[in-house]
């Protein structure tokens, strides 16, 4: 066993042994160690690594969209000569009915997709955590009421409820995000509640209470951080679903509005030309498919790596 505070010459193998130590000397070492072990398990799963590559690729493409595809995604070339061209060396994915380069639009669409996912995650996760931990911590009628509300939200199919919300709020990407977030939080609330129930009676919670900490402080300071990891894993598993729901809303004309290069809306445009100019619909759809497959592969691998029971 390596003591954590003894000066050690830095070597990769030494660092590895420190991480994999069976007897960690500190909580940080234990936590980093279990993280590293998860990473090792993940690395052995080739499909998960493909998924990780796709997700990292998406982030890179979104960051470097202007470098990869310097053209303007909103304004096309001359309508007379460059409309609905098939894929070629000049236009890798062809052009659409406005003579815009589909490749450029798909690349810039990555930004929108990532933006939607990120916004949904930062809105839905805190709501779910707050509702779930509150319900689980207080129990009793608070729990009954909050969980009943959660169940009612879960009683609608996700896309349908999102559709109804967007219809009420009006189409647009912000409203789509709100609608998806409103339909995502119940699952996180359920999970956070279950986690809270298991730790609510632990000694350290009682200790905090005896020290006079307020309920709010216990919830946010002690309970929520402990629920966070499992909720985060759940959110990762959910990301593909978020992308598909957002694309579905876009496809129905309720998400991002034209001329924004949103993938779902682009597929909807391509519908009119599906028989003769298949690439207009096929390419953005392929992008949705690849990205959501990437998130699914990664999520699947994560679940296997972090939950030994599911990996059996």
């Amino acid at each position: 066993m390596t003591a954590p505070f003894e000066p050690q010459p830095f070597t990769w193998s030494g660092r590895r042994a420190w991480l994999l130590s069976e007897e960690p000397g500190s909580r940080r070492q234990a936590r980093l160690g279990s993280f590293y072990r998860g990473w090792l398990a993940l690395r052995e799963n080739p499909l998960a690594m493909v998924g990780l590559a796709v997700v990292v690729g998406l982030a890179l493409v979104a960051a470097l969209a202007d470098v990869i595809a310097p053209g303007n995604p909103l304004i096309g070339g001359p309508l007379r000569t460059e409309r609905l061209l098939p894929p070629s060396a000049a236009h890798w994915m062809g052009t659409d009915d406005q003579a815009r380069d589909i490749f450029t639009r798909v690349i810039h669409g990555a930004r929108l997709t990532l933006q939607v996912v990120a916004l949904v995650v930062v809105t839905a996760t805190p709501i779910g955590l707050l509702v779930g931990t509150t319900a689980g911590y207080f129990g009793g009628w608070v729990d009954a009421v909050l969980m009943r509300i959660t169940d009612i939200f879960l009683a609608f199919p996700r896309l349908i409820l999102a559709l109804a919300f967007v219809a009420a709020l009006g189409p647009g990407i912000e409203n789509a995000v709100i609608a998806i977030a409103l339909t995502s939080w119940p699952q996180y609330a359920r999970l956070a509640r279950a986690e809270t129930m298991t730790i609510r009676h632990s000694d350290f919670i009682s200790a905090a209470r005896l020290q006079g900490a307020s309920s709010a402080r216990i919830l946010w300071g002690h309970v929520a951080p402990l629920c966070l990891p499992s909720v985060v894993i759940r959110v990762t598993l959910d990301m593909a679903g978020i992308i598909l729901t957002a694309a579905g809303l876009g496809f129905l004309g309720l998400g991002a509005q034209p001329p924004e290069p949103e993938w779902g809306a682009m597929v909807a445009t391509g519908r009119r030309f599906i028989v003769d100019q298949w690439w207009v619909a096929a390419m953005p759809g392929l992008a949705i498919f690849v990205v959501s497959l990437g998130f699914n592969l990664l999520g699947d691998g994560l679940r296997d790596a972090l939950d030994p029971k599911a990996a059996r």
Partner: protein, 367 residues
């Protein structure tokens, strides 16, 4: 060592059942308690659905009065309708009015079709029902055996291939899959008929009765119509079926893996039972119980998927109706369909819950 429930104090259980009458009484009581609890939670959920649709209806930026009388009506008419709709009263009272209306089957009138919403829904529902049911049948028929195979050969190439197939089904946007299906199987290969439910030639010569065309044409012995309807439905049904197959297959696999690791499976092996029999008779029989819930859930997913596929296949069902209403800001129709889908969702959950009780001897007889 697995966690084990401590044997109850009555481990030295009476070898004779408690007197017959008493056991019947406790059973009836337990059943009634179960049904009562179920009915109560059902009622609360349905009420919640109504509250949600009601509230969504209130935040609509569209003025409900103008959508009825049009912009050119005089102010007096506007006031009259405003009061008729109860918009001058407090929210709670408005909700009460809404509740009474919905319970009496009055969902309002569609702005688009100028007909009562309920009539519209009754007209479009069979088409969606037919499509989603066929999709589900395909999904279960293919997904369940595939999940069993993946669990039986866990870690082998069979498992890997099935895993990828399922992940593709999870990940592909269903509307895109539908478009690609149309492009390949209809436009290029010509294996199936294109959009719509039935060919124009048959549409006028055929009188449907239940609205479920496959059933109607078979019952009337119109096999030409049946063939035509089948060639229309098979592609969207396969696409929806693939979608639910992926879900059912993954869940079957994980339930089977759970069952195959149980001690009773080892016990069956100890008895020398063949592996085939262990998988199909012992493990699957146990995995089937939680699968009921999964099948119910995937039916709901199919209703959701049908919203996106129906527009592509010009399928005159609930999904297309909802989409059309959405795009035309026909709020009454949107909320009506949402409510109906929510109710169907709740009912499916109820049915799967009841089936669960019926199939699992542990719940059925109470333990």
């Amino acid at each position: 060592m697995q966690a084990r429930q401590e044997a109850p104090a009555s481990a030295e259980a009476p070898e004779r059942p408690e007197s017959e009458a008493e056991s019947v009484r406790t059973r009836v009581l337990r059943f009634l308690r179960g049904v009562g609890g179920l009915a109560f939670s059902l009622a609360v959920t349905l009420l919640g659905l109504l509250v949600v649709t009601f509230l969504i209806g209130r935040v609509v930026p569209v003025d409900p009065v103008l959508s009825i009388i049009g912009d050119r009506a005089p102010a007096s008419t506007y006031d009259r309708v405003y009061r008729e709709l109860g918009l001058d009263r407090p929210m709670v009272e408005q909700f009460w009015i809404y509740l009474k209306k919905v319970l009496s089957g009055d969902f309002g009138e569609s702005f688009l079709t100028k007909r009562p919403i309920l009539d519209d829904l009754r007209r479009v529902f069979p088409a969606t029902f037919e499509l989603a049911t066929l999709g589900l049948i395909l999904g279960v028929a293919i997904g369940a055996p595939m999940g069993v195979a993946a669990a039986a050969w866990k870690g082998s190439w069979v498992d890997q291939i099935i895993r990828v197939l399922c992940l593709v089904g999870y990940s592909a946007p269903i509307f895109w899959l539908g478009l690609m299906g149309l492009l390949i199987f209809y436009a290029n290969l010509g294996w199936v008929s294109g959009p719509g439910r039935i060919g124009i030639a048959h549409e006028f010569s055929f009188q449907p009765r239940t609205g479920i065309l496959l059933l109607d044409s078979a019952l009337q012995g119109r096999w030409d119509v049946f063939r035509n309807v089948f060639s229309h439905i098979i592609l969207p049904a396969c696409i929806l079926g693939y979608f639910s197959m992926a879900y059912i297959c993954r869940m079957t696999r994980s339930f089977m893996l759970h069952e195959l690791s149980q001690e009773y499976v080892t016990a069956a092996r100890v008895k020398g039972i063949s592996e085939t029999r262990i998988i199909w008779r012992h493990a699957l029989r146990n995995a089937a119980v939680p699968m009921i819930t999964v099948v119910g859930l995937s039916y709901i997913n199919l209703l959701e998927g049908s919203v996106l596929t129906e527009t592509i296949f010009a399928w005159p069902g609930l999904g297309q109706y909802l989409t059309n209403s959405l795009q035309n800001a026909d709020m009454n129709a949107v909320l009506g369909s949402t409510l109906v889908i929510g109710v169907v969702f709740v009912l499916i959950n109820l049915v799967s819950d009841l089936l669960y009780r019926l199939l699992d001897p542990r719940v059925r007889r109470g333990s």
